[in-house]
Structures are given as structure tokens and as C-alpha cells.
């Protein structure tokens, strides 16, 4: 019996605590909960915002495929994936993955796998908007992301 993952693609921010409680509240079979939050980062202090473009429909479908793959590979009691789109300023949340399981190894690996696959397969694209210059630039995909994803094959 595999769980049905919860997948959401939304402009609004998410509440990691509420999502964690959704997977643990009122149950006694969850021993481990791993929560990954990806945030917009700007160490150079030059970024106004990241703009996240997505392919509506396929984004949800692809995240669901990746999440179902994770629930088939690991004995999870719950799995949630939320990815935002639109303009996101530095310090704000972009993506949330919460994996719950009886055992910690499954929860860690499922969340890690999900982020690796999401990075290379979910149809989202980041464009940087720079504060002072007003310029924009598409973020380039990293070879490292493909290597990370290849760890699971």
C-alpha cells in the first residue's frame, strides 16, 4: 500500500510546519520526518528577485510522476511537494519537500531523490532580475544537477 503524494504548484508561499503536521498529526506510525526547503539566495546582494516560469499542467504532472516514483521506491507514510512560481525575492521560499516514514533512512533518501529529480525534470525555469541595473538573465542548468540525479539510477 503506497501513499498518494500531495503535489501543489502555486504562486503563494507555503507553511512548512502545517505541511509537516499534515503528515504526522494524529498518527503513531511516523518515526521520521524530513523536510527540505529551497530558498531564494542572493549572496552578492545584487538580486531583486528570481522569476520562476513554469509549464502549467506539465509541472504538476511531472512532480506527481517523480513523487509517485519515490513512494514506490521507499516505504513512506506520506510525501508532499510544493513548488512556487512567479517573482520570489531573496530569502523567500521556492520549494518544499516533506517525506515521512517509519524509518529515517527512507525519509532522508526520498526527500533527497525528489529534489535531485525535480531539479532536472520538473518544468520550471529561473530568471534573475538584478536590482540596480534592471537587467535579467536566465539561470543556466548545472552539470552537477544531472550527476546528482544519476546517483539514483
Amino acid at each position: 500500500m503506497t501513499v498518494t503524494p500531495l503535489v501543489r504548484v502555486q504562486a503563494e508561499d507555503f507553511d512548512a510546519k502545517a505541511e509537516a503536521e499534515r503528515l504526522t498529526g494524529g498518527r503513531k506510525d511516523v518515526g521520521a520526518l524530513v523536510s527540505f526547503t529551497g530558498l531564494c539566495r542572493d549572496e552578492a546582494g545584487t538580486l531583486e528577485a528570481l522569476e520562476l516560469e513554469h509549464y502549467p499542467g506539465m509541472a504538476e504532472a511531472e512532480l506527481t510522476r517523480i513523487a509517485q516514483d519515490a513512494t514506490a521506491r521507499w516505504p513512506l507514510t506520506g510525501l508532499t511537494v510544493i513548488h512556487r512560481y512567479g517573482k520570489i525575492p531573496p530569502g523567500d521560499n521556492i520549494v518544499l519537500v516533506v517525506a515521512a516514514s517509519s524509518h529515517r533512512r527512507a525519509a532522508f533518501e526520498a526527500a533527497d531523490f525528489l529534489m535531485d529529480y525535480l531539479k532536472t525534470k520538473a518544468p520550471f525555469w529561473k530568471k534573475e532580475h538584478f536590482a540596480e541595473t534592471g537587467k535579467t538573465s536566465w539561470v543556466e542548468a548545472k552539470d552537477g544537477d544531472d550527476k546528482d540525479a544519476a546517483r539514483w539510477t
Binding site: 509549464y55 504532472a61 513548488h83 525535480l118 531539479k119 520550471f124 525555469w125 529561473k126 542548468a141
Partner: protein, 83 residues
């Protein structure tokens, strides 16, 4: 056939979406890319770095040798950078 573009592919083509008549000789995604490149400079620029283009047929990732078949929607975009 309905064609969608995302990110810098969209910016180079200049439209988000278009419906085009595909000649009978176009069987695969690669054939479609060749056909699109022949349409005008914008399309040619968008598909200039062909290796950098990813394709989805009816919202599923496919390789360039995929047969278009009766797919109703083809999407072209750069490598994904979400997460």
C-alpha cells in the same frame, strides 16, 4: 499542431504558443525542429543550439527521435532550473 515555448526559447521565438500546419514529411520531433527553423529568423535563433533544447510531447519528456504521432501539444524549452 499546437506548439508551446518556455523561458529563453519562448523569448527568442517571440510567442508563447502557436498552431502550425505540419507537412506530411515531418514524422519526429527532430523533423519538426528542422521545419520550425526554416520558418523565420526568430525560430532559427531559438533552435540554434539544438542540443540545449528539451522537448515534451503532450506534457511528457521525450528525445528528439520521438515520433510525433497523434500528439496534440509539443513544447520546447531549455534545460530545467527549478528547485
Amino acid at each position: 499542431m499546437n506548439i508551446r515555448y518556455f523561458a529563453w526559447v519562448r523569448e527568442r521565438v517571440g510567442v508563447e504558443e502557436e498552431t502550425i500546419d505540419v507537412p506530411a514529411s515531418v514524422a519526429t520531433v527532430a523533423d519538426l525542429i528542422s521545419h520550425l527553423k526554416s520558418l523565420d529568423d526568430n525560430h532559427a535563433a531559438a533552435f540554434e543550439e539544438e542540443d540545449a533544447i528539451r522537448v515534451a510531447l503532450d506534457q511528457m519528456h521525450v528525445e528528439p527521435d520521438a515520433i510525433l504521432g497523434d500528439a496534440s501539444e509539443v513544447a520546447f524549452f531549455p534545460p530545467m532550473t527549478g528547485g
